[in-house]
């Protein structure tokens, strides 16, 4: 950060607008329905609209986390929705086919199988993108198209229902808070620690800025790209387990339908550029919450749920416009700036990447 004034720093932060959007949404809800912010404690569980938002948003948040890292490497993963369907299909059909479909062992075997298959699918995406160097958007389009077909092949076109208490815990269980929230938070913290407390995050960003320069600088850019796709697929797999466990069924057609779009939106709303090179985990969290809050708002305000999409579109366009460098330039020009702050030439460019001070340095090195 170039500025030391907290207000200036806040105003130029990419998290400002998403945060404002979220607060406005929550405030609107609280005004319309005062019970919105209330939390109840009952039978050792926490209930309330806010908990619901978190619970329903957990799968989107998980997928958005994986997507965030993929996008940071200048990639995109369209196949996550299909992977969600496959994970649910594999887990449920494995549990149904087990000797004792209600035992904990069957649940763990099923979930293990599902996640292993998801990792393989991630390896496949990574192979296409990192080894064959196919554009990520088409490479993952292959699995997006074929994936739902594969899921239906596994379930034989049926909706498989399971009755397994252990499996049900993942999506519908409680441990003070719903278990799905705890899983999502755990993954979030894990990713934050692994990528922000080590150099890994920096390496991912540098691969996103320039894969070739990163390779020449001694990074294993191919391995890094490969890893993020595997990670995204595993995240999608966990989300798929949550979704199918929440309804105790695997629906190959509708599980995770359009969730890839929601995840990409969450990442973009959170201020991560699709051009790669930098990412914001906190922003992604905000983005996922905004999307879920929006959906809940529409439900709770009594607006026809079908119209959610219009609201989503409006919010997305608004947030994207506010984040677009050109629009921000126009807005900032109108607000009078405090005079006489000496600014060196390099600073305006660097300020954009100010989240991690070193990212801008890497970029400069990569571009020169």
């Amino acid at each position: 950060m170039t500025s030391t004034r907290p207000l200036d720093r806040f105003r130029s932060s990419p998290l400002l607008w998403p945060l404002v959007a979220l607060v406005v949404l929550l405030a609107a809800n609280a005004v319309v329905r005062p019970s919105f912010l209330a939390l109840r404690f009952q039978d050792g569980h926490l209930y309330g609209s806010l908990v619901d938002i978190l619970k329903n948003g957990a799968p989107t948040l998980l997928i958005a986390l994986g997507m965030c890292l993929v996008i940071a490497t200048r990639g995109i993963d369209l196949s996550v929705g299909a992977v969600v369907a496959i994970a649910g299909a594999v887990a449920c059909s494995s549990i149904v086919g087990a000797g004792d479909p209600t035992s904990a062992k069957a649940a763990f075997v099923g979930m293990g199988l599902a996640l292993a298959l998801c990792a393989v699918l991630g390896l496949w995406n990574g192979f296409l993108v990192a080894a064959l160097r196919i554009q990520p958007i088409i490479a993952t389009l292959v699995l997006m198209t074929a994936g739902r077909g594969i899921a239906m092949l596994i379930t034989d076109g049926q909706i498989i229902t399971v009755r397994n208490p252990t499996f049900r815990t993942v999506g519908a269980g409680f441990l003070l808070l719903p278990v799905s929230i705890l899983i999502a938070v755990a993954v979030f913290v894990l990713v934050a620690i692994v990528t922000r407390k080590t150099a890994l995050g920096l390496l991912i960003e540098s691969v996103g800025i320039n894969p070739e320069a990163s390779r020449l600088a001694g990074l294993r850019s191919r391995t890094i790209r490969w890893t993020v796709y595997v990670f995204a697929a595993i995240c999608a797999g966990i989300a798929g387990l949550m979704i199918s466990s929440n309804v105790s069924a695997a629906d190959a057609n509708n599980a995770g339908l359009w969730i890839e779009m929601d995840a990409i939106l969450a990442v973009v709303i959170g201020g991560t550029s699709l051009a790669g090179g930098r990412y914001s985990l906190a922003g992604t969290l905000l983005g996922a919450l905004i999307i879920q809050t929006l959906t809940t708002t529409v439900y709770s305000m009594g607006i026809a749920p079908e119209i959610t999409l219009v609201f989503k579109a409006v919010v997305v366009i608004a947030v994207c416009l506010l984040q677009a460098p050109k629009v921000r330039a126009v807005l900032l020009r109108r607000t009078p700036r405090r005079p006489a702050r000496p600014v060196s030439d390099a600073e305006p460019a660097a300020a954009q990447h100010a989240q991690t001070p070193t990212a801008s340095m890497v970029e400069k090195v990569a571009q020169s």
Binding site: R133, I264, E306, T308, V316
Partner: protein, 337 residues
């Protein structure tokens, strides 16, 4: 094109032709698509009785007329290096608006005009945002997709059937090509649109500029080409094509519904890619996209003739084909810098 040079030497250097000396690498995927189409059709003809009848071929066009129209619009967008995810939703919105306004008693020509205007306006808006605010086409058209799908449900949640006599007679009218083969007006419209698109993309300044923008936008700008006009124009074309496809789709289904054409954008993108258009822009043919749609159509026909294969095999087959063509493009593009 090559035959004029070969008689001088006496022997035709077949290897040279195959190696790509006379056939540019970017045409190879289109040829491959054509060969694949013929092969798939041959398999069908060999295995199933009645597959070679003219009506099967005619049905290929009748059942996919709207997809052909969308793929044409999508080709323009992808040639400039963009992408349009909103097409399926705009098709649905068009069917919905057409059905609702016909129910309200508006005359059919006015309805057609209204729908076309709506489609182009949506395309124009997305193009403006993409070009002037420099937001990625993927996100903008994704928002457009949500908006159009949402607007469908604002118009109405239920499916609305079309009872207008003009629409009905237009939809059911058959144009006999021979004694037992007939096509619908949708096919005529779709093929006419393909012809116009071929001319615009390959023979006009607008088309050449679209290729230039797809090749390198900054170079095109430096050359003084009207980049803004073309970049916005392709989204208008795509929006217009989606609206036309929506009208054809409402003729095909004789109803308007917000859940029509779900996932059609993926089919359109897949057929454009199978037709040899590069998603990175700069390379592609309208006829290739037509062939791409036909390949998808033949696969569907094969699966329905087979009878025992379930419909999800279509998805797996399309995915596999997509993969094959992408890898093939990769190979050819690497050889030809």
């Amino acid at each position: 094109m090559t035959t004029s040079a070969t008689p001088v030497k006496g022997k035709a250097p077949l290897g040279a032709i195959l190696r790509g000396r006379s056939v540019p690498g970017r045409v190879v995927p289109v040829i491959a698509t054509f060969v694949l189409f013929v092969l798939l059709f041959g398999v069908g003809a060999a295995r199933y009785e009645g597959f070679t009848s003219g009506q099967v071929v005619a049905n290929l066009f009748i059942d996919n007329a709207f997809l052909i129209v969308i793929a044409v619009g999508m080709t323009f967008v992808i040639v400039t290096g963009g992408i349009d995810l909103s097409v399926g939703a705009v098709v649905a919105l068009s069917t919905m608006v057409a059905a609702a306004s016909l129910r309200a008693g508006l005359p059919a020509p006015l309805v057609v005009l209204l729908v076309l205007l709506m489609g182009s306006t949506l395309g124009l808006l997305m193009g403006l945002v993409i070009h002037y605010f420099e937001i990625q086409p993927f996100i903008v058209t994704l928002a457009g997709m949500f908006l159009a799908r949402g607007l469908c449900f604002v118009v109405g949640v239920e499916s609305i059937s079309i009872k207008d006599p003009t629409f009905r007679s237009f939809a059911t009218a058959a144009i006999p090509l021979s004694q037992n083969v007939s096509i619908t007006w949708s096919v005529v419209i779709a093929l006419a649109l393909v012809a116009v698109a071929v001319w615009v993309l390959h023979r006009t300044r607008f088309g050449r500029t679209a290729y230039a923008v797809g090749g390198s936008e900054s170079s095109a700008t430096l050359m003084g080409l009207p980049v803004a006009k073309v970049k916005i124009g392709v989204y208008v074309i795509s929006g217009l094509c989606s609206a036309i496809a929506g009208l054809l789709f409402s003729l095909y289904m004789l109803s308007g519904y917000g859940l029509h054409a779900v996932g059609m954008e993926l089919d359109a993108i897949a057929s454009v890619v199978i037709g040899g258009t590069l998603l990175s822009g700069g390379v592609g043919y309208v006829l290739g996209s037509l062939l791409g749609v036909l390949v998808l159509g033949v696969i569907q026909t094969l699966i329905s003739f087979q009878g025992t294969l379930s419909s999800w095999w279509t998805k797996i087959a399309i995915g596999t084909l997509l993969l094959l063509f992408i890898v093939m493009q990769r190979v050819f593009m690497r050889r030809q810098p």
